[in-house]
């Protein structure tokens, strides 16, 4: 009897799995069909608004009712995508006119599960709803989502805030992410900041004024953003580099910044780092070896040549790269090739050979 129960249990599992498969197939098909039919409804409605050159309250009510459902929002998104190809200007105007619908939807989407909630800021960002206007309900909703445990909610909301373009909201969002304790990759943050559509000077000023209040990880993301955006921060970055309270990681980032954007007062400091032969500080030396490429002069050349003799692979590797970037040739570095240090000559020869190879490839491609 017990064995029979077992067999029946197995059969029941088999049957339920078959049912599961069939149900899945039908649910997907039905959902796709429903989205397609909603798309047709939206298209008719939106085209009518475009023809009438006005959005009436009835249409807004229709949207408020429909867009509460995430499948309808997907269909709406697809419809706008298609219509934008034929009526780009009208769609921009239409979206501006229906911004109140998105204000209404904020609360609805906050109540949904994380996957559905994350879709809402995506729509806000994609259609630039509230861009330049800073509609407080939308901004506040984004600030709530920025503290969510779902990475996608956080990132979509941060990107939406960037498009909205209010500097103080962005800084607030960064604080929320920082304090939430959830891991948020620095590339995601710096990329979202690079999308900022508002006043960049105001954003930079605010970020600097709050800089010390952020965690080290967030500070690194902000410095990355500065490095990718502009060289206007050289003075402040240099101050940060020379401050006693600055951590090693932040200093590395500052050196990278000053390697991308030339700043004369930083040069003696960079030379000091480059001349530091203490193995414990090899990271400083290696990063500086790279950054010195932004400071072309005879002294840089000599320091970099000296770094080619370092016992650290990365220092030698970066120094050779900088010498190559600075345009030195085999003749300029003859003493390295004629010297006793095989490691130095090998890495330098490789760099110059590689450069020659790239040049010949470029010539071939041009031809």
């Amino acid at each position: 009897m017990k064995v029979e129960i077992l067999i029946f249990a197995y059969l029941a599992v088999c049957a339920s799995m078959i049912v599961f498969n069939i149900v899945c197939i039908f649910v997907f098909r039905h959902r796709d069909k429903k989205i397609d039919s909603s798309k047709i409804d939206f298209e008719t409605e939106i085209k009518q608004c475009i023809d009438n050159k006005a959005v009436d309250s009835k249409h807004r009510e229709f949207l408020m009712k429909k867009l509460k459902k995430v499948n309808n929002l997907t269909a709406f998104d697809k419809t706008l995508n298609d219509l934008y190809l034929d009526y780009p200007d009208q769609i921009i105007w239409y979206l501006e006119d229906i911004s109140s619908v998105f204000v209404y939807l904020c609360l609805e989407y906050l109540k949904k599960n994380k996957i559905q909630s994350a879709y809402y800021p995506y729509i806000i960002r994609k259609y630039r709803i509230g861009s330049g206007k800073n509609i407080s309900i939308i901004t506040d909703t984004m600030l709530i989502l920025v503290g969510d445990s779902s990475l996608y909610c956080r990132q979509n909301a941060l990107e939406a805030l960037s498009v909205i373009g209010d500097a103080s909201s962005i800084v607030k969002a960064l604080h929320i992410i920082d304090e939430s304790g959830y891991y948020h990759h620095s590339k995601l943050i710096s990329d979202a900041l690079l999308d900022f559509s508002g006043n960049n000077i105001k954003l930079s000023d605010l970020l600097w004024s709050e800089f010390s209040k952020f965690s080290e990880k967030m500070q690194l993301s902000i410095l990355d953003f500065f490095r990718f955006s502009s060289g206007e921060h050289v003075k402040r970055v240099f101050q940060l580099l020379t401050s006693k309270d600055t951590s090693d990681e932040i200093k590395y980032s500052c050196i990278r910044y000053l390697g991308k954007f030339h700043y004369d007062p930083a040069y003696p400091y960079l030379l000091d780092y480059a001349k530091d032969t203490d193995e414990v500080h090899w990271e400083y030396t290696a990063i500086t070896a790279m950054s010195l490429a932004a400071y072309p002069c005879e002294q840089t050349k000599e320091v970099l040549k000296n770094l080619l003799h370092s016992s650290n692979w990365y220092v030698r590797y970066n120094a050779s790269q900088s010498l190559e970037t600075l345009g030195y040739t085999y003749t300029d570095l003859i003493d390295i090739f004629d010297g006793d240090d095989r490691y130095a000559s090998e890495i330098m020869r490789y760099r110059l050979d590689q450069k020659k190879l790239k040049e010949s490839e470029a010539t071939l491609n041009d031809a």
Binding site: C14, N21, I115, Y119, Q155
Partner: protein, 473 residues
């Protein structure tokens, strides 16, 4: 007569014990498979929903990646493989092909196809490996391409050379006869953006027999014409969907396929790189990473990217399949034996208590247990202690159960990655999954059980199987 009765009694008791063992064993396996397939399917459907609702990182986030392709006698496929890698939708990567002293024209084919030039490149030896014989470089569409020809030392040794030579902080290992899907790099780096402790990410390997690929995109997909390859499609889907997703839930993955996996270079170097003395260097590395991180109290995570797809050739001849499975089984044994102290060791948490135990009972020992089961059935039949109709019924239910789970995995996979399949493919899958469970599984159990015969001889062998050109346009 009395002695006979006593012997009969003893046999009866022994068979009863065996009976109970097998019932527990099968219930354990079926329950695991059921939980794994349900977890895997729901995870895939969730992923599909996430993609639909844009719960994904939509831009190119440039995490620089080095792709290492170890090659040995791969003149037939290597050029096409590199061409497909050059067509990947990713912005910052390099390709390093390590020719492990091939006896054919692998290097020559590459040099000619990509107009590569010789260069004297110093390589920092962080992990021990055989010396290089020559290095060629070029760049195609701004993707640096390096060929390192080295003295023969095996696949693991070639991968170690690749790790030494690569410049980026993460590397991908793959086979020279595989093709990465156009978006696979983008997908496989996602876990790195989601979790700072990720040290390795496994991708999905799908047999490309029957698929038509164009610049890393599936142009047409059919179940393979070859029956053996067809059954492997079902087997791969079951194994990748089921156990890997479930183990991923508790950071318990013990295998990242050598055909497609991403690793954090520094951690791999610190753990000692690939072990060139084992046949299953891919599994050994993952087990080693668990051990290294736990013992050094490094927070770590080994993830599985369900949407990062690599298309690989499944052997179409039984001889090749047996060769491959023997190699895998020996690799499994070597990896588990080398790290045996992890079994039931509470220090390793779920990895030691669940994953290691599962691999021991249901992977390493399963061929022996299955063959032992068949022998006991024969003995029971001889001494007339078996209810034959019940046995057949039980076996049929087991086969139907396994087949249904295989089909669930297959359909979940095809539906969630939007592969269009025909009614003929569905019929093929339904027919063959039963055959795979009831016939192929037992053939492979025998092959795996006898894998240790001639083990010493095969130690450093690349275990080559017949290569065909992949259907790439």
């Amino acid at each position: 007569m009395m002695l006979n009765d006593q012997v009969f009694e003893v046999i009866k008791v022994v068979l009863d014990v065996i009976n109970i063992f097998f019932i527990v064993y099968l219930i354990g396996y079926s329950t695991f498979l059921f939980i794994a397939v349900v977890t895997g399917s729901s995870e895939l459907y969730k992923k599909k929903q996430q993609d639909k609702l844009k719960n994904t990182l939509m831009r190119d986030y440039y995490i620089p990646v080095s792709i290492i392709v170890p090659a040995y006698n791969e003149e037939v496929t290597v050029v096409e493989t590199v061409k497909s890698l050059l067509a990947l939708d990713y912005n910052l990567y390099e390709i390093i092909i390590v020719d492990d002293g091939s006896k054919d024209t692998t290097s020559k084919k590459l040099i000619e196809a990509f107009n590569m030039k010789p260069i004297r490149r110093p390589i920092q030896r962080k992990i021990k490996c055989q010396p290089e014989e020559f290095i060629y470089e070029t760049s195609v569409h701004n993707v640096p391409l390096t060929l390192i020809r080295k003295k023969n030392g095996g696949k693991a040794d070639s991968l170690n050379m690749g790790i030494n030579a690569c410049r980026y902080p993460y590397f991908i290992c793959m086979d020279a006869d595989s093709v990465l899907q156009h978006d696979s790099l983008n997908k496989i780096v996602h876990p790195l953006l989601e979790n700072e402790n990720v040290v390795a990410v496994g991708g999905v390997v799908r047999p490309c027999n029957g698929a038509e690929l164009e610049r890393g995109r599936v142009k047409k997909y059919r179940m393979p014409k070859n029956i053996l390859a067809c059954m492997q499609v079902l087997e791969y889907d079951r194994s990748f969907l089921a156990s890997r997703i479930l183990f991923d839930k508790f950071n318990g993955s013990l295998i990242i396929s050598g055909a497609f996996g991403l690793f954090k270079k520094d951690t791999v170097i610190a753990a000692g790189g690939y072990d060139s003395t084992t046949l299953g260097e891919d599994m050994e590395l993952v087990v080693k990473l668990h051990e290294y991180c736990v013992l050094n109290e490094i927070p770590y995570c080994i993830k599985y990217a369900t949407d990062a797809i690599c298309w690989s050739q499944a052997p179409e001849r039984l001889r090749d399949l047996c060769k491959q499975r023997r190699r895998w089984h020996l690799g499994l044994f070597q990896s588990m034996w080398k790290h045996k102290e992890m079994l039931f060791n509470p220090k390793f948490g779920a990895v030691g208590l669940i994953s290691f135990f599962y691999f021991l009972i249901y992977e390493l020992l399963s061929p022996f247990i299955e063959i032992f089961g068949v022998i006991s059935m024969i003995v029971a039949f001889i001494v007339d202690l078996i209810n034959v109709p019940f046995m057949i019924l039980f076996f049929l239910i087991y086969a139907v159960f396994g087949s249904v789970l295989s089909l669930t995995a297959f359909f979940a996979r095809t539906q969630t990655i939007d592969l269009k399949i025909t009614a003929g493919d569905v019929a093929k899958a339904i027919l063959l999954c039963f055959f795979e469970i009831s016939v192929l599984r037992f053939i492979l159990a025998f092959v795996r059980a006898t894998a240790f015969i001639g083990y010493r001889k095969r130690k450093m062998n690349w275990g080559k199987i017949e290569r065909k050109k992949i259907n790439i346009e």
